[in-house]
């Protein structure tokens, strides 16, 4: 598996899209830092970008990579190698290369700007960690979708729709249901609903660090307990890990049964 992982990783690292992705973050974060000069404000702006863009790029890259390397995959399948190893190796290679673009693209400007001497270091780490989680989650989901669909167009369509659903539509439905059912006690439900969507969950993780003063304005006991203590941070991280493990497990299962 390690060999395939290494091969995928270096294959992707050499591709121009990785560079484009890396330079995009480099330019965005360094220009934001240069223009505003206030690290905490830059982190808030980057949060919006990361929550939307990372899942989108990971999804598209995931399906693209799977479909493009299909011939090579078939070649590998003819060899005496376990299927699990082939697909997991490819997936991890992809996720790691995307994550490293993100990590270095954001990390270098912040390092130059002196993040280690700033009090915002924890907020920055949380930003990077959620970004990496989202990369792993969405590239796994896109790999899974691609595995299940031979038709490229259909695969792309599903992945784009999934992204749109989780990034925008889900929150719309969520808000609508809160407004419709506002006569009922909703605090536990709303917390659970926001846990079911990895983008929302990552957003809450960052909010816990940045907007805690506003979140404390709500009277509900469950909210206060969740936001006021480390329970929220711990629970959110656990569920993010689950979100990563579940699709990967599905990849293993589906790839084992699939006919090529």
């Amino acid at each position: 598996m390690l060999k395939i992982l290494k091969y995928s990783f270096f294959d992707l690292i050499r591709s121009k899209w990785s560079y484009v992705y890396f330079f995009f973050y480099l330019v965005i974060s360094s220009s934001l830092l240069y223009l505003s000069g206030d690290i905490s404000k830059v982190i808030i702006s980057l949060m919006n970008i990361i929550l939307i863009l990372v899942p989108l790029i990971a999804s598209i890259f995931g399906v693209m990579y799977y479909y493009n390397s299909r011939e090579f995959t078939e070649l590998l399948l003819a060899q005496p190698i376990k299927r699990t190893n082939i697909f997991l190796g490819q997936y991890i290679g992809l996720a790691v290369s995307l994550s490293s673009s993100l990590l270095f693209g954001l990390g270098i400007p912040f390092l130059v700007f002196g993040i280690f001497r700033s009090s915002e270091i924890w907020n920055f780490i949380i930003l990077i960690v959620t970004g990496i989680f989202l990369t792993f989650i969405f590239s796994a989901i896109s790999f899974l979708v691609a595995l299940k669909n031979e038709n490229r167009l259909k695969g792309f369509g599903i992945v784009i729709f999934l992204w749109m659903f989780m990034a925008i539509i889900y929150d719309g439905l969520f808000l609508l249901s809160l407004i419709v059912f506002k006569e009922y006690p909703l605090e536990t439900i709303s917390l659970i609903l926001s846990m079911l969507n990895p983008i929302d969950l990552s957003r809450i993780l960052i909010l816990l660090k940045l907007d805690i003063s506003a979140l404390m304005g709500y009277t509900g006991a469950v909210f206060r307990k969740f936001f006021g203590t480390d329970t929220g941070l711990l629970l959110s991280t656990l569920i993010l890990i689950m979100w990563t493990v579940l699709p990967v497990w599905a990849i293993v299962r589906v790839s084992g049964r699939k006919n090529f």
Binding site: I168, D171, G172, E187, S190, S213, A214, M216, G217, Y218
Partner: protein, 423 residues
């Protein structure tokens, strides 16, 4: 039958005393009595009996527990090496000032006890004027300093540290009722119900005080007019300052930080008129200012940073001027829901302003609407707070900004500044 006679006797005696006093002070200089546990005079009570008005009592270090100490002559009491006056939780006041012109300096006064019936106090001033309470430490004295109808007093550089756990069984750090011309400066007040409480207090000044970790308010005005507080710090209180039913209160250069909770505010205004709020810093509060009825109030040159809500208006508020403030990184800058609005909010700096300045005059070319649709939604369905900063919310906020349907249309800053206000 007896009464008039008695009264005469009394007044005769008073006249005689007055005569004697004048005579005495005319010919003899005020004397000094020393109280020392190893000396001749061992208790403060003894010393008080020996003194005549205008004398100075020097109390040397040691532990004095003598029940309630009643000061009924104009004296100066000075503690040297910080003597301790201990009430041993006997549920009574520790020092009562019952004379004009008393100075009390350099003591530690502790353990008044807790009562649900009586308001116990470390130092009580009852209907007397011109007192000075300076550099004392009051520890665990239900009410620290309790002023009843006492005027022209100075309370300077004291530390008032309580042990409040719940509101019903705790008192206020400095409690003033029907007072005038107080000067309260340089005090540190911690862990009481209200740090400083003013009820019917006129023409008083509060300067350079620190009030923190109080259960209810750091500073609380009720029915008090023409007062001013400057350069104070309010930190981690239930709410920083509450100003209620008062007129002409000036609030300058104060700092309100870290007041967190569902009913926590930096500053709470309720039914107030003609106040000035200038050059204050509101940082990291759940709500910077909550306004429940304010009329003709000026908000000028304040910094609102990292608050949940910078200013939230509920109820009718008219003729307020919100100009030249900095609104930086607040989750919500302004909430103002009443449809009828004649408040001016022009010329502020908003960090969430996205307009441009083509003519380079420092003023944004398009007006800014600080009231967001999401704040309207949150006030109706509080649970929707979990959606804060999500893309969907940004989209509906944007569409509301383009064409307001739910938020009041005329609430806007016509001249938003491009750069932070420096004052």
């Amino acid at each position: 039958m007896n009464r008039p006679k008695n009264h005469c006797d009394d007044s005769c005696l008073q006249l005689g005393l007055l005569f004697l006093m004048t005579f005495y002070s005319f010919f003899c200089a005020a004397s000094t009595v020393k109280v020392d546990q190893n000396g001749k005079v061992k208790t403060i009570h003894e010393a008080l009996v020996m003194t005549t008005p205008g004398d100075t009592v020097l109390v040397y270090g040691g532990n004095y527990s003598e029940g309630t100490i009643l000061i009924d002559k104009p004296l100066t009491l000075i503690g040297i090496d910080r003597p301790i006056i201990d009430g041993h939780d006997r549920e009574s006041d520790i020092i009562i000032i019952a004379s004009d012109s008393v100075t009390l300096e350099g003591f530690t006064i502790q353990n008044a006890g807790t009562s649900y019936i009586k308001d116990l106090a470390g130092i009580r001033v009852r209907r007397k004027n011109s007192f000075v309470i300076r550099n004392n430490h009051l520890i665990n004295t239900m009410f620290g300093i309790y002023l009843e109808k006492a005027n022209d007093g100075k309370i300077v550089d004291n530390q008032v540290i309580g042990q409040a756990i719940e509101e019903v069984s705790s008192g206020n750090g400095i409690h003033a009722w029907y007072c005038k011309n107080l000067f309260i400066s340089g005090n540190t007040i911690e862990s009481h119900r209200d740090g400083i409480y003013f009820e019917f207090v006129e023409s008083s000044q509060l300067i350079d005080n620190i009030s923190r970790n109080n259960l209810r308010y750091g500073l609380h005005f009720m029915f008090s007019n023409n007062d001013e507080y400057t350069n104070n710090l309010f930190e981690k209180n239930g709410a920083g300052v509450a100003v209620m039913f008062s007129k002409n209160i000036n609030m300058y250069h104060n700092t309100f930080t870290n007041n967190w909770g569902s009913a926590s505010y930096g500053l709470l205004l309720k039914e107030i008129y003609d106040a000035r709020i200038e050059e204050n810093i509101f940082d990291g509060n759940t709500m910077g200012i909550k306004v429940d009825g304010s009329t003709r109030v000026t908000y000028h040159n304040n910094d609102f940073e990292n608050n949940g809500w910078a200013i939230k208006f509920v109820g009718g508020s008219y003729d307020n001027k919100i100009n030249n403030n900095n609104f930086i990184s607040n989750s919500f800058d302004l909430v103002l829901e009443s449809a009828r609005n004649n408040n001016t909010i022009d010329g502020n700096y908003w960090s969430s302003y996205t307009g441009y300045d083509l003519d380079k005059n420092g003023i944004g070319d398009i007006p800014f609407r600080p009231v967001k649709l999401f704040s309207y939604i949150v006030s109706r369905t509080p649970e929707s707070m979990v959606l804060l900063r999500s893309l969907f919310i940004d989209i509906i906020d944007f569409s509301e900004k383009v064409r307001p349907m739910f938020t009041p249309e005329n609430v806007m800053d016509h001249a938003p500044l491009m750069n932070k206000v420096v004052y």
